[in-house]
């Protein structure tokens, strides 16, 4: 069972597209990890936590569900802390002022900007908490997704969360909607789940937390997945159980959002472009 990339370019398949955040590949030092900050939220107020990626946002229309933002989940990777291996010698004294020509000013600017940040709003509707992470295989390194998954699941495990944990993900390796849970899975080899939801399920398994969820078939690379009409219809039917709204209104709003968000396949987004 191996990991294969989604890519149109014939690159070696053992290399996956992800942003280069640490330029010095030859370094033998370890890299710093992104730090995750979660807003203070009392989990006891909620009976359900939905963990998903932004591609599923059309299923949770804010206005219809009257959802409120509780705070931002922030992940910061600070590469300017001096812990990283640098390409130039380090000095115990700051020579910038006395030797301006010797110290490359371009480097100083570069060092200051070596901070990467990712924010994900945590929203609630009714007694449901929704954490939806916007992925982008061009800009977001998977280390961010792994760290978010770790922190969120740790928080659920520590807080002895008694409600249900729902995961909603996509995979380009499957052809139909697959229910998953901690008790059973409908995935068959060589199907697999990657990206944020893959990281979340990995952490939930590690912490032995019960969960249920759905993995939807998608096309496209991480962060730019497209869902087809059949999948969307199934998702809407299944997700309606978690929202408190008239089914027909919910359904129409989901379809509208799905088309607007660009998650629809081109041929199904209407007659005109």
């Amino acid at each position: 069972m191996l990991f294969k990339q989604w890519n149109e370019i014939a690159e070696p398949r053992h290399q996956l597209d992800s942003p280069v955040i640490i330029a010095n590949e030859g370094t033998l030092q370890t890299s710093v990890l992104p730090q995750v900050t979660l807003p203070p939220i009392d989990l006891q107020n909620f009976s359900r936590v939905i963990l998903t990626s932004a591609i599923m946002n059309p299923l949770f229309p804010e206005k219809l569900l009257k959802s409120t933002i509780l705070g931002d989940l922030k992940v910061i990777l600070d590469l300017s802390s001096g812990k990283m291996a640098l390409d130039h010698p380090m000095h115990s004294w700051n020579f910038d002022e006395n030797f301006p020509n010797e110290v490359d000013p371009a480097y100083v600017v570069e060092e200051r900007s070596k901070t990467f940040e990712l924010c994900a709003p945590i929203v609630s509707f009714g007694r449901t908490l929704l954490i939806s992470v916007k992925e982008n295989f061009l800009k977001t390194s998977p280390i961010f997704l792994n760290q978010i998954a770790k922190s969120v699941v740790c928080k659920l495990a520590q807080g002895a969360f008694e409600g249900e944990v729902v995961v909603l993900g996509t995979s380009d390796q499957i052809t139909e909607l697959k229910p998953v849970s901690d008790k059973e899975t409908t995935l068959n080899p060589p199907e697999f789940v990657t990206s944020f939801v893959g990281a979340v399920i990995t952490q939930l398994i590690e912490k032995s937390l019960p969960f249920q969820g759905l993995i939807a078939p998608s096309e496209g690379p991480v962060g730019f997945e497209k869902l087809n009409l059949v999948t969307m219809e199934e998702l809407i039917t299944l997700c309606h159980q978690w929202v408190d709204s008239n089914k027909e209104i919910y359904r129409n709003e989901c379809y509208r959002r799905w088309r607007l968000d660009g998650a629809a396949l081109g041929a199904q987004s209407g007659l005109y472009i």
Partner: protein, 278 residues
């Protein structure tokens, strides 16, 4: 018996991972699942348990973890009769975090399980320029496509000196070949390792880990062409007994069901009597 840990590098054609798939599934009655390892430093992965086609249950997992229904990115297996640990890695390392993976995930295993020999499997192809520079022209004309190198951990001081030289004194040359690190067999295609290769990072951290148990690092690298590399995986798997004493040549290769539809399961036709069209 020497306690051995086999580690695949995610490299050209995924051949090392496929070779280990073959090893653990062909000997699935002997190998047991030990544990999942922290997969922070590799791309996320979760999938169902893999199994061999004629098995009704995933034998590899059912003996020690009957409740398990998902596979994760890094899993450790153990064969007690041969005293071999196998680390299966299912996804590539996240860019920039190779050193973290080795230091924080793999090194602790060596102490925890008192590993004496670490066997690292690698593969490279015609496009891997940094590795090709490390091959010799006479060797390229040979027919042996698998290279075997050994690093005796005993003379750590010499080796560390070699690292220091390679890191500081040769800043001008982009590619330095630490020649004294691995001793390759004379018929190996690869006669050196380059500092750009993953094996260089592994060797550096394993040697600096100063494990009291570790005696040898063995490096086994196959020359492959990117494509359907299941046949290369069979060859690399058959080569393993050359570097691991306790392992006998597998009588029958049984690939896992996940290969079906992804990799060809039939041997490559070598004569026209099998027809041009398959």
């Amino acid at each position: 018996m020497v306690r051995t840990l086999i580690v695949p590098l995610v490299s050209t054609g995924n051949v090392p991972q496929l070779a280990l798939d073959l090893l653990v599934h062909s000997l699935s009655s002997e190998f047991d699942f030990v544990k999942s390892l922290d997969s922070t430093f590799v791309h996320p992965f979760v999938g169902p348990l893999d199994y061999v086609l004629d098995q009704h249950v995933p034998v590899l997992f059912s003996k020690t973890a009957p409740q398990k229904i998902y596979s994760t990115a890094l899993e450790l297996f153990y064969n007690e009769s041969k005293d071999i640990y196998v680390l299966q890695q299912r996804t590539p390392v996240i860019q920039g975090y190779l050193n973290n993976l080795i230091k924080e995930t793999i090194l602790p295993l060596i102490d925890e399980f008192k590993i004496e020999d670490v066997v690292i499997l690698d593969s490279f192809g015609p496009l891997d320029d940094d590795v090709l520079e490390a091959t010799t022209v006479p060797a390229r004309r040979g027919t042996n496509l698998i290279s075997d190198g050994t690093c005796e951990v005993g003379s750590v001081t010499d080796v560390i000196r070699s690292f220091e030289q390679s890191l500081n004194l040769n800043q001008g040359s982009e590619l330095h070949l630490p020649s004294s690190l691995f001793k390759f067999t004379p018929d190996s295609l690869q006669q050196e390792i380059s500092s750009k290769q993953q094996i260089f990072h592994f060797a550096y951290h394993l040697l600096n880990g100063k494990s009291p148990y570790l005696k040898e690092i063995k490096y086994c690298s196959a020359f492959v062409h990117e494509g359907d590399n299941s046949e290369d995986a069979h060859l690399l798997c058959d080569h393993l007994p050359v570097v691991i004493e306790s392992l006998d040549k597998l009588l029958k290769h049984t690939p896992p069901v996940s290969w079906k539809g992804v990799y060809g399961l039939r041997p490559v036709p070598i004569a026209f009597d099998e027809g041009i069209y398959v």
